[in-house]
């Protein structure tokens, strides 16, 4: 009996009010359902994304709601957000909850590939468009899946294109690559290696480490023996933090050090690694550090920075910009959609491809729903009165400063 009672409790407990789309009359609100990580290893990345999405919702609701083209009017936006505790298993049940119980109009994934993965097939099976924020994993994008839209980042295997070009342009001959063995980082490592080899550079070290790695001391010793000019570490934020701390504590001074996440979570890295450990480090330059004065949707870069900082003091980072950009993609898709059916919303998102520029750059979608427009420039962290300041250094079209190579 207790088992029966608890199952019913589970059945009833986490349901909330639902809103269904209608083809005949406009709904009272547009519900956006998402999962976020309130704790656990993905919280530092997931929470800023959620803040960005909330900021977009607040902005739209101040105007009376998001404009829905099918009804030619603004409809208030309501957010249903559940905490997945950084667990993919929990995220899976929550996505299902949002689709089947809450019947949300728009389904938005949590941060990163691991927490997006459980939503991919669920969304496809329920014929529900998944607005994938930052899950850039390659298995998600297949020709048969028409129910996914990658909003804020390019597919992970094309991230390192500018980085490889930069290394070739600088004639860096001895390159060491360490990568965490997960989909996100390994796909970058493979692309980087093949691009470098095509440019005549064979990495002197090419080594995968478990994503759970928290100490790079031994690996750095073996890398140092190869006398690399550049050490490139591809990992998640905890990997990058540990790597940079270990580089500094080991007293290593390679000509170039590259990690993935300082460009996305600069203030976090400043507090964890410190200015000395960060200066002259290279990273991916996110669009937070690129100025977009002319946009087709949403706020310009400077307006976004000012208004977001006022709404969420001290919380501005690249991931909050991405969360905001997700809202802009949803906004564009709803504006273009002929109805609130999921296929119409998907078509609405496709119609944005190549025509929408936001604070996150140009939005270009390929036939599989993957984003290909927002190539990430190579950036470097320069010492400044504020600690370190990030500037894009390559390619020249996006550069705001000249690279300092080798690092002093």
């Amino acid at each position: 009996m207790a088992a029966a009672a608890s199952m019913v409790l589970a059945a009833c407990g986490s349901s909330s009010s639902s809103t269904t789309s209608s083809t005949s009359s406009a709904p009272s609100d547009i519900t956006i359902g998402t999962a976020y990580s309130g704790s656990g290893s993905y919280a530092t990345s997931s929470l800023p994304e959620l803040d960005g999405l909330k900021f977009w919702i607040t902005q739209e609701n101040k105007k009376g709601g998001v404009y829905v083209g099918a009804y030619k009017k603004r409809i208030p936006v309501k957010l249903v957000a559940y905490n997945d505790l950084s667990s993919a298993s929990t995220a899976a049940t929550l996505y299902n909850q949002l689709i089947t119980q809450d019947k949300v109009n728009i389904l938005v994934a949590d941060f990163g590939s691991v927490l997006t993965a459980p939503a991919v097939s669920l969304a496809e099976a329920h014929k529900m468009v998944l607005f994938d924020q930052t899950g850039t994993g390659i298995p998600f994008f297949t020709p048969s899946n028409k129910y996914i839209v990658l909003c804020d980042l390019p597919e992970s295997d094309i991230w390192p294109d500018p980085l490889a070009q930069f290394l070739i342009a600088k004639n860096v001959k001895r390159v060491a690559i360490i990568y965490a063995t997960n989909d996100f980082d390994q796909s970058q490592a493979i692309t980087l290696k093949s691009k470098l080899e095509a440019g005549g550079i064979t990495p002197v070290v090419y080594e995968g480490v478990p994503t759970s790695t928290t100490s790079y001391t031994t690996i750095l010793q073996s890398i140092e023996a190869q006398h690399p000019d550049a050490i490139l570490e591809l990992g998640y934020q905890p990997n990058d933090t540990a790597f940079l701390q270990n580089v500094e504590s080991a007293g290593l001074h390679p000509k170039m050090t590259f990690t993935v996440f300082p460009g996305q979570l600069l203030s976090l890295f400043q507090s964890q690694v410190g200015t000395a450990g960060l200066k002259y480090t290279y990273t991916y330059g996110t669009n937070l550090y690129v100025n977009y004065p002319n946009v087709t949707e949403g706020l310009t870069t400077s307006a976004f920075k000012t208004q977001f900082a006022a709404a969420y003091p001290g919380q501005l980072n690249a991931l909050s910009l991405m969360g905001y950009n997700t809202g802009l993609v949803v906004e564009g898709a709803l504006k273009n959609a002929k109805s609130l059916s999921q296929s119409a919303i998907r078509a609405g998102a496709e119609a944005l491809s190549g025509k929408m520029t936001t604070v996150d750059g140009k939005f270009v979608l390929n036939s599989e729903g993957a984003q290909t427009g927002e190539l990430l420039p190579v950036a470097q962290l320069f010492p400044s009165s504020a600690g370190v300041t990030l500037h894009a250094v390559y390619p020249a079209s996006q550069a705001t400063a000249s690279a300092v190579y080798p690092a002093p």
Partner: protein
């Protein structure tokens, strides 16, 4: 002697209970959870939550078989779960198997890995528990190794969306829960169950009494491994897109062990109740109010260990034995 005189008495002479209860009561232990699931899926459309709950019931019963009946606690139980998911994934992607067949193949994968781990039974207590944990982590490292990308797809995970079927995976999960409960019923009420309990209480005395300790314990281990293997396979099939860290996750072991202990190990109903109650609490409180969840979960476990080490089943037994107007059996 007449036919009626040879008929077995309606009351068990040892327990003084009607004999029909020995059949009906265990049957209800299987039938009630199945019926509840079959009803729940019609009133609650989040099938995946029910799939997870059914799988955790099965896993808790698997822990019940190996820990409750033999005393060996495998922290690395998640290793079988992950292997099951990956073997089933391999069957679907490379062999073109259907989901149900792949799930059975996942169970076989669990059995094979369980057989390979047989030498670990040279260890006892915490040493055994921690070594199985290390094996689970090693399996994760092997599966996610980039050098095995052609076989396991390495860190890229698997996409089984082509065979996704929420109805079938739900049915398989409920079936697995039923079979695992049935396995416990059969073991508990059999000579084999008595053998396992004898091994748990004192393996040396059991051996002296003619019990083949290694063989009988090994069978229990393989049954538990098969349950986890099928469970992992169904889980992987149900979510369809997963990475190695999703299925080789120590949380799976922690949940299964806590659920089994909460309900009461060595019993039929205990792990079922433990998994159903705690997984429901996890979803109701944990997701909406994680700050309270951790407090509540922690308090429940502390109180349980302090005041009810035999779990819910122990509490129920205590209440049953101390109910008012209980008839004396003497």
């Amino acid at each position: 002697m007449s036919l009626s005189a040879r008929r077995r008495p309606a009351v068990d002479e040892e327990t003084k209970r009607p004999r029909w209860r020995g059949v009906v009561s265990p049957g209800m232990a299987v039938a009630i959870p199945v019926l509840v699931f079959l009803v729940a899926v019609h009133v609650y459309s989040n099938e995946l939550l029910l799939v997870d709950m059914a799988i955790y019931i099965a896993l808790a019963q698997g822990i019940n078989i190996i820990y409750g009946f033999t005393g060996y606690l495998p922290f690395g139980y998640f290793g079988f779960f992950g292997v099951g998911a990956y073997v089933a994934g391999y069957g679907i992607v490379h062999l073109g198997l259907s989901g149900p067949l792949a799930a059975l193949l996942g169970g076989l994968g669990g059995v094979v890995v369980g057989a390979v781990m047989l030498p670990l039974f040279r260890l006892k207590g915490a040493y055994f528990a921690l070594t199985t944990l290390a094996v689970g982590e090693a399996l994760y490292a092997i599966v996610s190794n980039p050098s095995l990308t052609s076989v396991t797809n390495g860190p890229y995970g698997l996409n089984l969306a082509a065979v996704y079927s929420s109805g079938w995976s739900f049915g398989m999960a409920v079936g697995l829960a039923a079979i695992s409960i049935l396995a416990v019923v059969l073991i508990k009420n059999s000579r084999y169950g008595m053998t396992l309990r004898a091994i748990r209480d004192d393996p040396y005395s059991a051996s002296m009494a003619g019990i083949n300790v290694a063989r009988d314990r090994f069978y229990a281990w393989l049954i538990a491994a098969a349950i986890a293997g099928v469970g992992g396979a169904i889980y992987g099939w149900a979510i369809s897109v997963f990475y190695p860290q999703d299925v080789f996750d120590v949380t799976v072991s922690v949940f299964a062990i806590v659920f089994a202990l909460f309900g009461g190990i060595g019993t039929i109903w205990g792990p079922t109740l433990g998994a159903a109650v705690l997984y429901a609490v996890y979803n109701v409180v944990g997701v909406s109010n994680p700050q309270y969840f951790q407090l509540i979960y922690g308090l429940v476990i502390v109180l349980l260990v302090l005041f009810a080490p035999r779990g819910l089943a122990g509490i129920a037994r205590y209440l049953h034995e101390h109910r008012p107007f209980v008839r004396s059996s003497t």
